[in-house]
């Protein structure tokens, strides 16, 4: 970013720069700390978590970290609720932190969703009853010592010593902190920084699986390389848009797009208003965001990463990343680029159709439950995009609702996956799930509920969400998209049903997996998932109201 932009950013706030004091004095930025408290609490706790790693004895780290994470997330959620109760999401929403962040309905709604999803995910991170005890020490899903080479002596020593990677808690908190900023970012640089803040911990978390470590590390490398590419695209797009608009602030760019800009930056007179820069820049930024969302054709990483990452991390990524990324995508399309609607809508139509169909069709051929859920998440990204394309207030609120409903189903489903185990850890190959309904009807029934919700069967949250986005899309003039959505739902239903058939109608194999009895932590995660699925399915009105109230972006 050029110096002029920084300068203008700092002087637009005229509170301190009075006429009497024209001397070059660096003004301190004005930050409304109370309004960004949720983010600050989470990031603060993450930093504290690093200090805990350094100073607290190894034996008690797990408990301290878990306690800190839970307290931080609950406190942050309370802060979000307090802000929303204060009307910050509706009547008195506004831009804070020198124009870097927006505190408005969508931001608060998504932050609340991310915090709750993060809290539930932390429970699954902390689960220590599933893996058999290693040398008398209870262990979780994460590697004993991340730095040791898989299969090496140092790894064996670490396992024998009962090490566990308690760093996952601060890493997850950093990721959540970044995700909180992502949907509320109100200028492109904040957007980029938030993206990196939540992506880097996720790359690390992906590499930390206790079992199948090579696969986990492979997933992390793939995710990192492709993620780095997408970040580069995003950054390049930001540069081009800066060249186009002379500013990185969302409102400023929108003004230039609308042609209502007041002062042209003389240094950029040659490029400002150049539509080529706008179109290419916007396309590159959209690519970066669609990568995080997992939309076709930027979905390639999803199945490998979802399969390789430790399952609790997969659940967390699938839920929270999607929420954050769709939040940022919505804000970008609705605040920065509404003037460009006629250019991006056809492209997004294509992306949505491809995403829905490809996700649903390719999922049919999958034989691994985690890969299957990965392709299912791609198909769901397509459904959500249908709501994004609506470009109506209903479109925003339906996407918000869908994201809320989807994230809890996802975390719950992946939490169930962690329970089904054999000697090699989680038994993710579908053939091993045969007859699960006979062996443990309750677990199978819960998983069936999640699958039915994914399939969008009425009386589950999945149906309410799907109906909301399809209704918004139809009202927004995207009727054809609804038809494609309905067709891909039918295709998708096939593979969800296939898993149910396998669980309930196939004979259990004698060497089949066992279902581990989890601690109350995972039970809570699954219980919350089921409760949200059914409540949002049967009586969604309260949450639809909430999403409706939250459905207005501040500009």
């Amino acid at each position: 970013m050029s110096a002029t932009a920084v300068h203008s950013l700092w002087t637009t706030n005229g509170l301190w720069a009075t006429a009497a004091e024209p001397v070059a004095k660096i003004d301190s930025p004005q930050i409304e700390y109370s309004l960004i408290a949720p983010t600050l609490i989470v990031i603060g706790a993450a930093i504290l978590g690093i200090l805990i790693e350094a100073f607290v004895p190894r034996k008690s780290r797990y408990y301290v970290q878990l306690f800190l994470s839970v307290v931080a997330l609950v406190a942050a959620f309370a802060a979000v609720v307090a802000l929303a109760a204060d009307g910050r999401g509706t009547t008195s929403s506004g831009i804070v932190a020198m124009g870097a962040l927006a505190v408005d309905g969508p931001a608060l709604f998504l932050q609340g969703t991310i915090l709750l999803a993060g809290l539930v995910a932390i429970f699954t991170f902390a689960e220590r009853r599933l893996d058999p005890e290693a040398h008398g020490n209870r262990v979780d899903s994460f590697a004993a010592q991340a730095a040791s080479v898989p299969g090496s002596d140092s790894e064996k020593a670490a396992v024998r010593a009962g090490f566990t990677t308690t760093e996952v808690f601060p890493l997850a908190l950093f990721a959540i902190g970044g995700m909180l900023v992502f949907p509320s970012a109100n200028d492109l640089l904040t957007l980029f920084i938030a993206l990196e803040v939540f992506s880097l911990p996720l790359y690390l978390l992906c590499a930390l699986a206790r079992r199948k470590r090579l696969m986990s590390q492979e997933a992390a490398v793939k995710y990192f390389l492709l993620g780095a590419f997408s970040s580069a695209f995003l950054l390049f797009g930001i540069a081009l848009l800066y060249g186009y608009a002379g500013t990185v602030s969302y409102a400023g760019i929108a003004d230039v797009v609308d042609g209502t800009v007041q002062n042209v930056n003389p240094a950029l007179a040659g490029t400002m208003g150049n539509d080529a820069l706008l179109l290419i820049g916007a396309a590159l930024i959209l690519m970066g965001l669609l990568f995080k969302v997992g939309a076709v054709p930027f979905h390639m990483w999803t199945p490998d990463v979802y399969q390789g990452a430790p399952t609790p991390v997969t659940g967390f990524m699938a839920a929270a990343t999607k929420v954050a990324a769709f939040g940022a995508l919505l804000r970008l399309l609705y605040v920065v680029l509404p003037g460009l609607r006629w250019d991006w809508r056809p492209v997004m139509w294509g992306v949505a159709i491809a995403t829905m169909l490809l996700g649903a069709i390719v999922a049919i051929t999958q034989t691994d439950i985690k890969r299957l859920l990965a392709y299912s998440s791609i198909a769901h990204a397509g459904f959500i995009l249908a709501g994004v394309i609506a470009t109506t207030p209903d479109g925003i609120s339906s996407v918000l609702f869908y994201l809320g409903a989807y994230s809890f189903v996802t975390i719950g489903a992946f939490a169930v996956v962690t329970l089904v185990r054999d000697a090699g850890g989680e038994a993710t190959h579908l053939s091993k799930w045969a007859g699960l309904g006979r062996r443990s009807p309750l677990v199978a029934a819960v998983f069936a509920v999640f699958l039915l919700a994914f399939a969008g069967i009425p009386l589950t949250s999945g149906f309410a969400g799907k109906f909301a986005v399809f209704k918004a899309a139809a009202e927004g003039g995207a009727g054809a998209l609804v038809v494609v959505g309905v067709i891909s739902s039918a295709i998708a239903a096939f593979f969800y049903i296939r898993v149910i058939v396998l669980m309930f109608f196939s004979e259990p194999k004698p060497e089949g997996p066992t279902v581990a009895v989890p601690s109350p932590l995972t039970m809570t995660a699954i219980g919350v998932g089921v409760a949200v699925t059914l409540v949002l399915g049967v009586a969604p009105q309260y949450f639809l109201d909430l999403a409706n109230q939250a459905g207005v972006f501040v500009r």
């Binding site: 069967i457 739902s489 196939s506």
Partner: protein, 541 residues
């Protein structure tokens, strides 16, 4: 709706809530108390029947109101969805049919889900009490009953849609989880065929339902509400004007789903699989109860919401119905499997029902509604006796039987009456309805009416050939040891046969019930003409 009064006891909700509660209670019975679960399920189904009778008594056939016993509560305001219930005569008749058949289905399937029947007696999960097939079987039946009854009562399109889709799930588990033991080949093969049938059932209906979902959303975009009464008043006041093409597309979306469910040729292929692989009581549940939702919905939703488009589509639908009648009957003649034969016969009968609905005459639609009731009872009688027969011999193949009437005369006698009802013998209930449908069709579409009559001839063929091959002739070795009907089985078959004869001789209670509703429906298609007479329409053509 402000003019809807929610006064008094919510009778309609109760008719659905009781079986739903029964399902939960039955499912909660501990593993060892299997028999208690059965009696509990039977008790709840009988209470439901009593409530259905109460609905019939409270319903006033002479009243002006189209929908009676209405209930209306806000549900999902954001989607414009209300919990709105109400019944017309057609609804009352079908609620009665459902509530009547479920106790028989439960008693007929009394032992179908016992561990030794489901092949899980030695399974350790059953021993540990984790897998409770018996409780599940009866709970699922009650769950289906609750959803079917509520779908007959829903006057909100969205509420109906939700039930229409949600009832697939318990149905799916009933088909896939509790198959017929009488199969050709190994256990593994049977399980594979069963789950194939269940998946086929679910996918066909789910695809139909999802296409309907697109049309439901489209309806909301056009009308802004899901309430039937609000849509009717919007249309009456001229505020709701659907473009012709929009109306036709929406109609097709709805009709497709109902035609899959009904089922209408060429969307029928799931039915023989499902009915063949399911146990006889579940097969009855599919064809006599759940499929009626499809034909009922054609009457209530297709005609009422899209009258113009319904008229537009009539020729094509009549031809499809005609193909169903003849094709179903022809394939029934060629079947070697008793249950699949009944399934194809049902396809033929559903052709008659749909033909009656879309003939757009009072006789046709009254006949179609009566047909739904009669077909339910007659198929239940035939299929349940066939189930008893199959459970004795352990085979579904017609060729494996012969001479049964000498060994088990009561069984053979009831089977004969069931077969005769299926071929619409005068004096038995289906005759009246088939006659009405044919007359109603003939007045407007003579050619189609005449061709449809061949369906009756073919019906006689497959019914009598079925009886002849299984019951007459020399007694086969395996058949010789067959016991006659037991008391439990007689209790199932006896009342159904009495009903068949009663409604055959005196159909007036049902026709009186449905006639006003049919006239209302027809006046939707031909507004202004309060009692549409078929003659002027013929003249106009």
């Amino acid at each position: 709706m402000s003019d809807v009064v929610n006064a008094g006891f919510p009778l309609l909700t109760a008719t659905a809530a009781v079986p739903a509660l029964g399902a939960i209670a039955t499912a909660a019975v501990p593993a060892a108390k299997r028999t208690a679960a059965k009696w509990l399920a039977l008790f709840f189904s009988l209470v439901t029947l009593a409530l259905a009778v109460a609905v019939g008594i409270r319903f006033n056939t002479g009243a002006e109101d189209r929908y009676q016993l209405t209930e209306s509560h806000s549900w999902i305001a954001d989607f414009g969805v209300r919990y709105e219930l109400g019944v017309d005569g057609i609804g009352v008749a079908l609620i009665g049919l459902t509530a009547l058949l479920i106790p028989f289905i439960i008693v007929a399937g009394w032992h179908d889900a016992d561990p030794q029947e489901t092949g899980t007696a030695t399974d350790s999960s059953v021993a540990a009490g984790r897998w409770r097939p018996t409780q599940g079987f009866f709970a699922l039946i009650l769950m289906v009953e609750a959803m079917v009854i509520l779908s007959f009562e829903a006057t909100d399109v969205f509420l109906f849609y939700i039930l229409f889709e949600a009832m697939l799930i318990p149905m799916y588990f009933l088909i896939g989880g509790f198959g017929d033991r009488a199969h050709a080949g190994s256990d593994e093969n049977a399980a594979a065929q069963r789950s194939y049938a269940a998946v086929k059932f679910l996918l066909y209906n789910l695809v139909g339902g999802l296409i309907m979902l697109a049309a439901v959303i489209g309806l909301y975009v056009v009308a802004g509400t899901f309430s039937l009464s609000e849509i009717a008043s919007l249309r009456a006041s001229g505020e709701l004007e659907m473009a012709t093409n929009t109306e036709r597309l929406l109609f097709l979306g709805f009709f497709f789903a109902f035609a899959v469910k009904a089922p209408l040729w060429p969307l029928h292929t799931w039915l023989p699989n499902a009915m063949g692989e399911a146990t006889a009581p579940v097969a009855v549940l599919i064809t006599a109860v759940v499929d009626k939702v499809g034909t009922f919905a054609m009457l209530r939703f297709c005609l009422q919401l899209f009258p113009g488009a319904s008229e537009w589509a009539t020729p094509v639908i009549l031809v499809l119905a005609l193909i169903s009648i003849v094709y179903g009957a022809l394939l029934a003649v060629g079947q070697r499997d008793i249950k699949r034969l009944v399934a194809y016969a049902s396809i033929s009968h559903f052709g008659f029902i749909i033909m009656g609905i879309f003939a757009m005459t009072t006789q046709g639609q009254s006949g179609a509604t009566l047909y739904m009731v009669n077909h339910g009872i007659s198929t239940a009688a035939l299929m349940l006796v066939a189930g008893f027969l199959i459970s004795r011999r352990g085979s579904r193949l017609i060729a494996d039987y012969g001479g049964a009437q000498k060994v088990a005369p009561v069984l053979a006698g009831t089977f004969l009456i069931g077969s005769l009802a299926t071929l619409s013998l005068p004096g038995l209930a289906p005759f009246v309805s088939e006659f009405l449908v044919l007359v109603g069709t003939f007045t407007r579409y003579p050619v189609i009416g005449i061709i449809a009559t061949f369906g009756i001839v073919l019906g006689a063929l497959y019914s009598l050939v079925l009886y002849q091959r299984t019951m007459t002739g020399p007694v086969k070795l395996e058949v010789a040891k067959m016991p006659d009907l037991k008391l439990r089985e007689l209790l199932v078959v006896g009342p159904l046969i009495v009903l068949l004869v009663f409604l055959g001789v005196y159909p007036k209670p049902v026709t009186d019930l449905v006639n006003p509703a049919v006239k209302d429906t027809l006046s939707d298609v031909y507004p202004g003409d309060k009692t549409p007479d078929p003659e002027p329409e013929v003249a106009a053509k």
